[in-house]
């Protein structure tokens, strides 16, 4: 029986890179519209977990359900799951040979079958939303890091996804540009879209997260609402981690 309120569900998921056990018995249910923040030390498997949701990685056993549909274990080409799941990468990954507008309309035109006009209308609307409508005809390398990441967010939103994944969206940015990107994401969090954000920005987590997930060594060590998570973490490892990052 599938629960219709669940956006993403991990059931006893395990994954290996050759003989390296990267995800260990992952169980996680994310409701539709929920905002999840995942944190944990580098190398703990956060990116891998998130990338399993849109089939950029495959898992070896257990089950992953996205919008009630099971993701194939073997195929890396799970197109159906993809179009509902948008992703923002740490390194932006904009298409450098295309202008901002072309970056935004490519997916809607080729994958969703929108006309150029429809796609452009959508693109302009979203550029307003990420507050850079004036950059529409620039190439990515003519923009600052913060602007590039906001274009990347708009590009993902152009597909009108039900779920948005953010993998350390501000980690590659200069400090003065972090706020402008986080503001856009917080803005987005006001809406019904499901969001899964890997980040160490704890100020952002306190504002936007419905639930915190702490990962260490391929396992989900602790989950909880932000208040409890930050005030009194249940595990020693989580406490140590929070102390380390809150020092900065």
């Amino acid at each position: 029986m599938t629960n219709t309120n669940i956006a993403v569900e991990f059931k006893d998921v395990n994954k290996w890179f050759d003989d390296f056990h990267v995800l260990k018995d992952i169980n996680l249910k994310i409701s539709i519209g929920e905002k999840i923040v995942i944190c944990g030390p580098s190398g703990s498997g956060k990116s891998t977990l998130v990338r399993c949701i849109n089939s950029l990685e495959t898992h070896e056993n257990g089950a992953i359900l996205v919008n009630g549909k099971t993701i194939e274990k073997t195929s890396k080409n799970n197109q159906k799951a993809n179009s509902d799941v948008g992703m923002v990468f740490q390194q932006f990954n904009l298409f450098p040979h295309l202008t901002v507008k072309e970056n935004l309309i490519l997916g809607p035109m080729k994958a969703l079958g929108l006309t150029k006009n429809e796609a452009e209308t959508r693109a302009i609307k979203l550029l307003h939303r990420v507050k850079i409508p004036e950059q529409v005809d620039k190439y990515p390398n003519q923009l600052s890091g913060g602007q590039q990441q906001r274009v990347a967010i708009a590009r993902a939103l152009c597909m009108e996804p039900k779920i948005m994944l953010f993998d350390e969206p501000t980690s590659a940015l200069d400090p003065e540009m972090i706020a402008e990107v986080l503001d856009v994401i917080i803005d987005l969090a006001q809406e019904g879209i499901t969001m899964i954000v890997v980040t160490h920005e704890m100020g952002f987590a306190k504002k936007a997260a419905d639930r915190m997930v702490f990962m260490d060594d391929g396992k989900i060590v602790e989950t909880g609402n932000p208040e409890g998570f930050f005030e009194n973490p249940k595990t020693e490892r989580c406490k140590l981690f929070l102390e380390q990052i809150l020092q900065h």
């Binding site: 849109n54 040979h97 490519l106």
Partner: protein, 270 residues
């Protein structure tokens, strides 16, 4: 004080180095011409002021069109075959990768001349046994052979160019819903092109030079025409010197075209 003449010499050296093949051959020909006993050279055979010499020149130079047409056709075919071979060669799946690997290794190992004989004399036998009466004329035989022989190299050039594009580009393309072919067409190939084009153009020089082999199956390109004049005039030294000069001019024109292309691609880096 010394800086000025040294710069001039440096520029001269640069110039000579740039066209070193041309200079070396010119100097050798000049030396040979001056130091050999009378009768060694008989330039009358291609003397444009005499009727016979002029006819010979016209006959020899008219091979350019065939050499160029053959090379261009072979290059176009090779670019297409190379892509068709390269794409499955980069698959995650070993079984899909395998035929591509085998093709590249096999074709690279076969010398051009035996392959040319096989296509021109051997393939018609197979076609006939299949009930297909398709004659293979020297032009198409040579074009197909050159294209296949070159396609193994073209495929490797594609592979290097495509694999030099970051994985993040493919991943981003997939997250906006593009399928494999759309990702190649709109995201990867346009970016890989600037890395693929220069070595591909270089490969064109190889095709032009290898097209000389088409002479042995009777195609009237530059080399075949030179052979025919040599047989009737008994003047191999002069005719083959001119032949080398013809290829030299052709290749120098192509390579200056490549340099222009590289400059243009470098200047609009994004």
């Amino acid at each position: 004080m010394q800086a000025v003449p040294r710069t001039n010499i440096a520029t001269l050296m640069d110039f000579i180095l740039k066209y070193k093949t041309f200079f070396i051959i010119s100097v050798l020909v000049l030396l040979a011409g001056c130091s050999s006993p009378p009768g060694t050279w008989g330039w009358y055979v291609i003397d444009p002021t005499t009727k016979g010499g002029w006819n010979n020149i016209k006959f020899l130079l008219s091979g350019f069109s065939a050499t160029i047409m053959l090379s261009v056709l072979a290059a176009i075919l090779s670019i297409i075959i190379g892509l068709v071979v390269a794409l499955p060669g980069m698959s995650q799946n070993r079984l899909i990768r395998l035929p591509s690997r085998i093709y590249i290794e096999f074709i690279r190992a076969v010398p051009l001349l035996p392959m040319l004989f096989w296509v021109f004399y051997g393939l018609p036998v197979i076609l006939k046994s299949l009930g297909l009466n398709i004659p293979i004329d020297p032009f198409w035989g040579a074009a197909i052979t050159l294209a296949i022989s070159d396609s193994a190299f073209t495929a490797e050039i594609y592979r290097a160019g495509i694999q030099s594009i970051e994985k993040g580009q493919t991943e981003a393309a997939r997250t906006v819903g593009l399928n494999y072919f759309q990702t190649m067409r709109y995201v990867i190939l346009p970016q890989a092109l600037r890395r693929i084009l220069p070595p591909l153009a270089n490969q064109f020089i190889y095709i032009v030079k290898m097209s000389a082999f088409a002479s042995v199956i009777g195609m009237q390109e530059l080399t075949r025409r030179a052979n025919e004049v040599v047989v009737s005039e008994y003047r191999p030294l002069e005719i083959y010197s001119l032949l080398i000069l013809e290829y030299l001019v052709l290749v120098l024109i192509i390579s200056s075209g490549i340099r222009w292309l590289e400059r243009r691609m470098g200047s609009d880096q994004r």
